[in-house]
């Protein structure tokens, strides 16, 4: 029996990567969720129901720029939202991706024509380059950035570039490009739980918890 690069990428490598991804994500979430929350001995400024619901509400309200800072942070946030939407569209609405996810979850959904996805990919790729440009040109963001930020950007970009090359049959045979694309996805899955890509799971709970703590102290956000 022969195992070619594509067979390896979508077989053993994908299996190992998914195992690390699933176990890693649960590990990271459980490790935080099961930590003991230090008891706040101060008297709450509002009822438990109120500060908890304010925490949940903050997931929405804190997801938009504060009116006072729109001019300063609006463009950055628009950039962030745009490429995230692009990524989601590519991941969830491209036919072969639907087929891949469908094979895991047992159901599929309608997708978009390949041409539309190619257009979205081109825009998303440009925005992604814009994000990097902003990171290296903004002194503050550059100082806040470390290897994790750049490597997380790199693995996501790698998936997009190899995916576009696969769709367009650029540079090599289709099966080689597809294998490289799946291997890049494998790399992303392995890196995901251990880098800043974990924000996909942390962002909303952390926003809610922080806001609830502040609301309890009488500083609703």
């Amino acid at each position: 029996m022969t195992l070619d690069l594509l067979g390896f990428a979508r077989g053993p490598a994908l299996k190992a990567a998914l195992a690390i991804f699933c176990a890693g994500v649960v590990w990271r979430i459980a490790a935080f969720a099961l930590l003991r929350i230090r008891r706040d001995l101060n008297r709450p400024r509002t009822s438990m129901l109120k500060y908890m619901s304010m925490g949940v509400l903050a997931i929405g309200t804190r997801s938009w720029p504060h009116p006072q800072f729109v001019k300063r942070t609006g463009a950055g946030e628009a950039l962030g939202y745009s490429y995230h939407l692009g990524l989601f569209a590519i991941l969830l609405l491209f036919g072969p991706h639907i087929e891949f996810l469908g094979s895991l979850f047992g159901f599929t959904w309608p997708g978009l024509p390949s041409g539309v996805i190619t257009g979205i990919s081109a825009v998303t790729l440009t925005l992604f380059l814009g994000v990097l440009y902003r990171r290296v040109t903004s002194r503050v963001i550059r100082m806040l950035s470390n290897f994790d930020d750049y490597f997380s950007w790199f693995v996501t970009m790698l998936v997009m570039v190899t995916g576009m090359a696969t769709t367009a049959h650029l540079g090599a045979r289709y099966e080689t490009l597809l294998a490289l694309h799946i291997l890049s996805v494998d790399l992303l899955l392995v890196w995901f739980p251990f880098g800043k890509l974990m924000h996909a799971f942390y962002i909303f709970p952390s926003r809610a918890i922080n806001s609830a703590i502040l609301a309890r102290k009488g500083a609703p956000s």
Partner: protein, 373 residues
Amino acid sequence: MSASGPGLTVGEMLRKHGVSRRGFIKYCTATASALALPPWMGAAMAEQLRNAPRPSVVYLSFQECTGCFEAFTRSFSPTIEHLMFDIISLDYDDTLMAASGTAAESALASVMKEHFGRYVLIVDGSIPTGASGAYCTSGGRSAEVILREAAKGAAVILAVGTCSAFGGIPFADPNPTGAWPVSAIVGDRPIINVSGCPPIPEVITGTLLQYVTTGSLPDLDENRRPRAFYGNSIHDRCYRRPFYDEGKFAKTFDDEGARNGWCLYELGCKGPTTYNACATVKWNGGTSFPIESGHGCIGCSEPGFWDKGSFYTAQAAADFTKSGETRPLEVLEFAGATLTVGAVLGAGSAGVGRLRQHRSELDEVAQNDKGTP
């Protein structure tokens, strides 16, 4: 076996059959076009063929189903009769020849001796090496012995069919006969792989004709297949490709998409990773090909095609379960196992974290106590 002695040149043979020079050049130009050769090759082929002696061809069949030979005999352009009577001298073929037993074996020995270093060897079927080659023998000799012997004097070897090119179905896991492709047995002769299960008839005869007329190996891909026929994927040349680009897929073999002729990708079509001329040359004289008949490509011209999972699973689908195709229950088992490992690791980490929290709190209390008068 040959219609007349191999001493005559092709040109002499054609004149004998009343073929005009103009008709011959037109034929060569059409053949060059079918082989995707440059336009000037038509005249060059005609010149070469006219003066060339008809090459001797030996056809050996080993561990195979004779499907490839059946395909070979159904070539429309050039036809097998035309090849055999006018272009080549088919001196040994155990399926077609009238002779049998010792007479056939001595015919093979005599051809190999007379045309040593010049004959074209066509091999059909894989070569079983298990049980000392006992799975496939002829005249008391194993396929491997016969092949090694015949390969010594061959100018070129055409491995016809996926079995001889890549091992094919006999080579598939668990390969009970220890089958191997020709290239694994013969390492010192030029080999052209003409893969397919079976190969397209015109691809077999076209490749043979190209070698005979040009006297050199065609441009080959990394799997030693002629690029003229295997240069493009089925997917790239498929008439259903526009539906793939539009995202229109048949979901079952009898749904509206299938009736409308939409792309068969989701039904497991292997067209994107299969290189062959099915979508252009087609079968039965250009009548149709599997995708046109409503079934996805099974990738039969690719190495290891039998071991690449289900023919009905989309290529984009994950392929890591024991069954060879992804099944929800196996995915659930996999997810359950990995999530449990993650939860245990997480609980362990949280336990360590809690211990640290506790120690840190104790330190804090101790420091506060020190500071209290």
